[in-house]
């Protein structure tokens, strides 16, 4: 791949209190999000949470009922998509099937730089100025195609390309114009797993070279965590948290963020803070203190749970070997809550067989507490690696 660098476009994307309803369904409930110039933000959430609608509003394909969208320092809320200086990569790639790869990449340039007469088939090339501009556009198309390794495919039609190649043509069509903002709607979801991992890197590289503010919509948390500068987690038309991938994973602000991010899912146990401030699970203190009295949810990542001689009583159910790790599925004895432990594969001989009882410990400093509304609750750590029984 050759470099595709240029002056970094100024601005960024600024979404202010955007609301949208379809009929009686409120799809977006006052969403605000700022993406700095050159920043890569992944918008992640379960399907139907409104993330694609938000992106289409930024692109101008959909109109917001309330709120505003600015790109750079220009309010574009009322502008047509073609006047917004954005480029979009669609989930289906949306390539024009009757045009060659080169012609597809050329479309956004031709529609902006040539007038209706110059774009006429056959005759257009003879209109004044068309030949010079056409030459310039061909060069830009070639550079964008080279940046994505499409040089040998310029004369093919989309039907003759593989999924990965089509995806790259869609990317080339997006970068060729050097827009101020990139929008990508699940661009990897139609690729097979191995190609997806490879293309992930390419998209990040292209983003870094082109330097435009990028909003990347995905339902795949691993894409969001690996690619983005910041991750915005969306659910039911609301942004729950916008933070770096590390913070989203280790320091989620909401129980819904904690359970959505991370695979396997974070373990949750019903807990309670007594009037003394001690946090108890099934009546047993677990080494955390300081929460307001009332019901709580204790959440622990699978890699922070360990089998031990003493601790929370659990019953082993099944073991899954993943290569680099083992997953031990178990159930908390007192509440019946399902638990998953991620363990190093060397531990296999020492693990309790299915159906047998064993005890669990966890790293209290990494345990997360959430209040009844799902908001994060602070607590102090009493003891390091222990779950008191």
């Amino acid at each position: 791949m050759t470099e595709f660098t240029g002056h970094p476009p100024p601005g960024g994307i600024h979404i202010r209190a955007v609301e949208k309803r379809f009929g009686h369904t409120q799809v977006l409930r006052g969403v605000s999000l700022d993406i700095a110039a050159g920043e890569f933000v992944a918008l992640v959430g379960p399907s139907g949470c409104g993330k694609t609608t938000l992106m289409r509003i930024v692109a101008g394909i959909e109109q917001a009922d309330a709120g505003s969208v600015a790109i750079g320092d220009r309010d574009v809320t009322r502008l047509r998509p073609g006047d917004r200086d954005v480029a979009m990569v669609f989930q289906s790639y949306a390539l024009y099937p009757h045009l060659t790869v080169a012609e597809n990449i050329r479309v956004p340039l031709a529609l902006r730089r040539l007038n209706a007469w110059q774009r006429l088939p056959l005759l257009g090339g003879w209109m004044p100025g068309a030949a010079d501009e056409g030459h310039r556009m061909d060069q830009e198309v070639r550079r964008a195609a080279e940046a994505l390794g499409l040089r040998a495919l310029l004369d093919r039609r989309p039907a003759q390309l593989s999924g990965g190649q089509r995806q790259r043509v869609a990317l080339a069509r997006a970068i060729v114009r050097r827009p101020a903002a990139f929008l990508m709607d699940e661009p990897l979801s139609n690729l097979d797993a191995s190609l997806r991992v490879q293309t992930r890197r390419e998209i990040v590289d292209i983003h870094r070279q082109a330097g435009a503010a990028t909003l990347y919509v995905t339902h795949d948390q691993s894409e969001a965590l690996t690619m983005a500068d910041r991750v915005a987690v969306m659910q039911d038309g609301e942004l729950l948290q916008v933070a770096t991938p590390e913070a989203i994973y280790a320091d989620p602000a909401d129980l819904r963020v904690a359970t959505f991010i991370g695979s396997p899912r974070i373990n949750t146990l019903p807990a309670e803070a007594g009037t003394d401030g001690m946090v108890r699970v099934g009546g047993h203190p677990v080494g955390l203190w300081g929460a307001r009295p009332g019901p709580l949810t204790l959440a622990i990542r699978p890699e922070d749970l360990l089998p031990a001689a003493t601790g929370l009583p659990a019953r082993a159910e099944a073991l899954e070997f993943l290569g680099e790790s083992l997953l031990l599925h178990a159930r908390h004895e007192a509440t019946g809550a399902p638990l998953v432990l991620r363990l190093p594969p060397e531990m296999r001989p020492d693990l309790p067989p299915g159906g047998s009882a064993f005890a669990l410990q966890f790293d209290t400093s990494r345990a997360l507490l959430f209040g009844p509304e799902g908001h994060r609750v602070g607590a102090s750590v009493l003891s390091g690696m222990h779950a008191l029984v």
Partner: protein
Amino acid sequence: MALTRAARAPWGEAAAAWMLSAPAVLAYVLMLALPTLATVLLAFTDFELGATGFRWIGLDNFAEMLSDRGFGISLRNTLIYVGLVTPGSIAGALALALLIEAGLRGRTLFRAVFFLPVVSLTVAMAAAWQYLLHPTIGPLNAMLRLAGLGAPEWLSSSSTVLVSLAAIGIWENLGFNLVLFLAGLTAIPRELYAAAEVDGARSAWDRFRLVTWPMLGPTTLFVLTITMIRAVRVFDTVAVLTQGGPNKASQVLLYTMYEEGFTYFRLGYSAAVTLVFLAIVLAIMWLQTKLLDKRVHYV
């Protein structure tokens, strides 16, 4: 049991296959292959209905056509008719389909309204047209007179009869083409229009040129072929409204065939005219598969 079945399988399977396809084969042979063959053979004879015998006369029927003024006129009129009806009903149907598709309501209503001519009996509808276009009592001329314009004699003047018939032909074919175009339009992915908008296609014309027209290619080709064939086949409006007149001005191919065969009983000559008609239809179909097919199919 298994052994006998295995041994008999080749025989039994072939027999079953023939039995299963027999009704279709029989129908095809009786209704299509034999009559076509009979027509081809008749075209080289001087057979007349009611005659006791016939002679093989080789290409004489075709030679006669070349010098037959009536046949020349009917061929010319048919081509003019096709040349008017095909573009008229295709452009009209496409424009209507785009309007209906862009409208928010009434899709089914408009589709039904414009499809009505296709499902109604042309002969009955022709009577309605006869009244509409009547030079003295027809509503069309009544309106023209009110507007102070002349009152053409639509179906009874040799200068306007073909155009009038073509207008009826357009009306007949419009609904069918409209439904095909509407189906073609629904098959265009919405994301392509969104992509065109983001790529800067601001005007409706730009989006039509970039997305709609190319994506409708396969539909348009099919509509073009089917309309041309339907137009070449024009017969019932001519038979009911003008009988080829006045002064052969609306004489068309199939009406000539009908006249020669069933008015003058010259079945041999009529069969030769039929072969010319068949050749035209086959040529249109060949044109579709060979010339245009590769340019409009993408997948």
